[in-house]
Amino acid sequence: MIDPYLRILLYIIIVLAVIITLLLLVIVINRYLVSVNKAKFTAKKQEWEGLYLNYLQGDLNLIEIAGLMKDKKRYYWLWRFFSPYLDMLDGSDFDKTKVLCREISLIGHYKQKLEHGKLSEKATAARVLGALRCKESVTGMISLLDSKHQLLVQSASLGLAKSGKSETFFSAARALLDNTYFTYEGATEILSAYGESVAPLMVRFLEGEIEILNGETKDESLEKKKKPFELKTVDPSAYNSVMIDLLGFFKYREALPTLQGLMKEADPETIVHILKAFLSIGEMPANIDLKPYLEHRYWVVRNFSARAWRLTGDRKAIPILEKLLQDQSWWVRFNSAEALSEAGESGLEILRIKAEGPEESAAAISSYVLRRRGVEL
């Protein structure tokens, strides 16, 4: 007789072995199917590519190629095939591709999915129709911006951005910030697909913001302009910050005066975004006074001001940078020392003196930066 405990143990071992074997089998089969599918798609892609290039060159006409490419079972593959071309092409080649996508019913299929598809189908449809710049689907995409599903909001925003409809920018920005958990960086990444054409719109919006900060808000058109920004969940400064980041991303020099105007009354977080934008643009307004920011109570503002100092090279700020070598934040000390190291011989002399001086933090950071620069003490 087998001990009953031993028997239970044996059963458990057998059951576990079966489960593990089944799991392994599922993984192996799944990998096999994925690789088979991938190989089929690659073969199909190569076949389509030859046809497509000949079509663009005029060696095949629309009816001929549509007859060869139309594949009702493989709309998703067709989309994956066309996707890089749609992102990269413009002019007559783009137009010919769009006509072909309409002819093989790719557009019709995804229009239907945008309205009646499942969640993931709607998301794909928004991306496809956006990439194909289907203006007639913009309303459908906008309606997805208020969805409670992040995937739909993200896809609709991206679709709208690619559709080339700049006027939808504010709605997409609002939706990304209000209806999703995207960080500033995530929202900025998606909204950057609108391209630089939205930069003047953002500048106009931020100028309205300055008027509000200055108490000059009684302009009705301005109130109307700000209507898409009725807030739900996030701090109002989040909108400003995303736009400031985008202006920096586009290196939009024309925004410099607006950013300077906004900086005077902005909260510390917004000031940091503005300083970062100056760094991205690689320029600062010539008449800017960095002193209040180098002496700001918030260390991140002091840090980015020290970094941005090199854009102006303002000699009047050198005594403040010298003082910041004793700042409580290592980053502020480091960037101040870096700035001084770029301030010519007088800056280097300050660092040499500090490196030998009695103030411990200043001495340590000065020696460190001088060594990094290969300067002898």
């Binding site: 892609k45 590519e49 290039l53 663009l56 060159q57 095939f81 890089p84 071309y85 992102d87 990269m88 092409l89 413009d90 002019g91 007559s92 080649d93 783009f94 950057s192 697909a193 391209g195 630089e196 991303f249 586009f250 290196k251 991205s280």
Partner: protein, 123 residues
């Protein structure tokens, strides 16, 4: 018989690479394709190329790094850089490094060919 000019197409998207190459071949150029920065650098330095169309965003070595390494060796080689609209800021750096011209995606391949003819001095 005049020899065909060799154009290096450095573009990591295989579809777009083949499309540009196809159009250039139809225009009578010989094409060398590179799908990443390392391949591009190798071809640019070791092949007798007449011009490069250089995508900025590429794996292993980006277009900027390729340009940095090619320029000291081949200062007169015409280079057209390509980048997406949202990364136009990279273009300033590329032009400072000695790129002869640029195009932002999306673009018309015909415009690229036009630009190529200009930098090659054939129009």
């Amino acid at each position: 018989m005049t020899e065909k000019q060799i154009i290096l197409v450095a573009e990591d998207d295989p579809g777009l690479n083949r499309l540009i190459s196809f159009k250039l071949q139809k225009e009578g150029y010989q094409v060398i394709s590179a799908l990443d920065g390392k391949e591009a650098l190798n071809a640019a330095l070791n092949e007798n190329v007449s011009a490069i169309t250089l995508d900025i965003m590429m794996p292993f070595l980006d277009g900027i790094q390729v340009l940095k390494k090619v320029r000291p060796v081949k200062p007169d080689l015409p280079v057209i850089v390509l980048t997406v609209k949202s990364r136009e800021n990279d273009l300033h750096q590329a032009l400072e490094l000695g790129a002869n011209a640029y195009m932002t995606k999306p673009f018309q391949p015909e415009q690229l060919i036009e630009k190529l003819k200009q930098v090659l001095g054939s129009i």
